[in-house]
Symmetry: C2
Subunit: 334 residues, 2 copies
């Protein structure tokens, strides 16, 4: 009886191996939300090239490091970075414990709903808002705060969860690269501990493959157990020149593929491009005012100016969101 | 004909599935260099517990993070940290370009062969030797320097390559954990960029899973290409309180298993132990003066004093190298 059942299983397996494979190979487009065109083609050609055994362009799996910016590359960043909405919501939630904020800037403006007034205060004001909302708790506590916010907070324009505003074509690209034994990393100017609580579920990227900006921490004790306490002091800015530094610190290998959308990613793309074996550099160009946002050279958030010139001069892949992406967000899928 | 061959393959497969598994399960000891005893048993029981589906102790693969100290835990550390031998060899190699070192301490003592004199100078002297040997080049150049040294330099007592002085039982443990879907990390007080060039080959641990001490770096240009330049300034000390900080920064998850050998690892083991699900903490106790070295409470390198007390009090696993390890180094294998 046992042998008989095993034989049946084996025959099933044989059938799947013989016919299943053919059917799948024919139908499976690894990037179904990408329209046919130069961008999609360049991705598929690069992956085919570096994974072809025996080819001079072959890259061993361990070296297939792909790095992705987050804001504007994997999810939207308008009208402002989503992490700033988090900081603002957090200050509002903490306000009852801080009566002094009613008369103290930049908190007073923020609590009156004058976000533009806060932003006008520049780095100093934004820094104070960020520290008030991101420091003063343990990393475990902060993780819960972020998880709660990301599960409930809605974008002011779309009224959708922020994690619904990730780019479907980029989700497919992440999965496609991983299916080809790439290791996918986020390298973002955003806070490393703001991203880690949800990137695994949303992007399939585990915490140890997230690189980002950080504040200082120290070891402390809480209820007799060691915890990590978040301090109101900047530690590292993972933007511009910081991106290659962060890559070296966390990954220790030069990536072979890099994906960004702004001048803040330019050094990361340049650093990637300077490697010896084949490299792939891609800029997401926000050209779709109807389905997402259209901006580049003159945007204060996600400015793409020098990067656009360099990408064109060097033949890097430029994704025209309007032309190249059949859908922007997952909910648009048919 | 085609179907016939596929059927044969399927039958072969069925046979292997039915009988092959049994044969293998009987013969394969995953830790052949570990003598039977409490230490070995505790490892195997822990792994069985957290990998058993449906059990309340089950830990999903993504959370199976295991962290290992390096010096004294994965390879020897006597008569002094191997990285110090590297620093000394490097200063000797650079001496012709630095005639001023002949009269300048601590270089003068070192070049005369008076290593004890250098060490007597304490942190300041050692720091100067480390910076002179570890900074002032690009990360790519440093990688080549380390690769060259590690492939050729010999230990003064054993006359073996340093990478031959890794612990065979720990190599088996690393492989055993990975075979059970653990992700293995090094978390060492040693230099992160001193370890990364060889840990993948020697331990199977890729650069992105190495956490260590570091000096500052900056983005620079060389021959028109972006490079990372190593600066003679401390960035992070991955020892004692630094180990949980380094784990949080690089991994972003509390490990479920931690392996060390000294008081410098105690905070890492305490931090691991404080997690909710089952945890495993292990100290390697250097008890074998004949095959390796015997030291603990009074050693200046690899001191194990408070850690030994706490391990005993809390029932952590303590490896008695003399009793528990059938062989120490790979070349002793029969």
């Amino acid at each position: 009886m046992k042998m008989k059942r095993t034989l049946l299983t084996a025959l099933n397996l044989a059938f799947v191996l013989t016919f299943g494979g053919l059917a799948q190979a024919k139908s499976a487009d690894p990037l179904p939300s990408w329209n046919d065109g130069k961008a999609k083609q360049s991705i598929i050609e690069f992956v085919a090239k570096v994974t072809k055994k025996g080819s001079s362009d072959f890259v061993p799996p361990a070296e297939r490091i792909a790095v992705f910016d987050n804001d504007g590359t994997l999810w939207s960043e308008k009208p402002m970075y989503f992490q700033l909405f988090f900081a603002i919501d957090r200050v509002k939630a903490l306000a009852p414990q801080h009566p002094e904020w009613k008369t103290k800037e930049p908190f007073a403006s923020l609590l009156k709903g004058d976000v533009k007034g806060v932003l006008a205060g520049g780095t100093k004001s934004v820094g104070e808002i960020v520290m008030a909302s991101h420091a003063g708790m343990t990393t475990d506590e902060f993780e819960l705060i972020v998880k709660d916010w990301i599960a409930t907070a809605k974008h002011p324009a779309t009224k959708r969860l922020y994690t619904e505003m990730v780019y479907q074509p980029m989700l497919e690209l992440l999965a496609y690269l991983r299916a080809n034994d790439f290791k996918t990393f986020i390298v973002s100017g955003g806070g490393i501990e703001f991203m880690r609580p949800w990137t695994e579920k949303v992007y399939g990227i585990p915490p140890e493959q997230v690189v980002g900006s950080s504040i200082k921490t120290k070891l402390g004790m809480k209820n007799g157990k060691p915890v990590i306490v978040r301090l109101p002091e900047l530690n590292f800015i993972d933007d511009k020149e910081g991106k290659p530094i962060g890559i070296n610190s966390h990954i220790g290998r030069r990536p072979i593929a890099a994906f960004g959308n702004s001048d803040g990613d330019l050094q990361m793309l340049q650093y990637t491009a300077a490697g010896d074996s084949p490299r792939f550099m891609l800029y997401v160009h926000h050209t779709d005012a109807e389905r997402e946002w259209a901006y580049d050279r003159k945007s204060s958030i996600g400015q793409l100016d020098k990067g656009l010139d360099e990408a064109r001069a060097k033949g890097w892949t430029i994704v025209d969101m309007k032309q190249d992406w059949q859908v922007i967000y997952p909910h648009e899928k048919r």
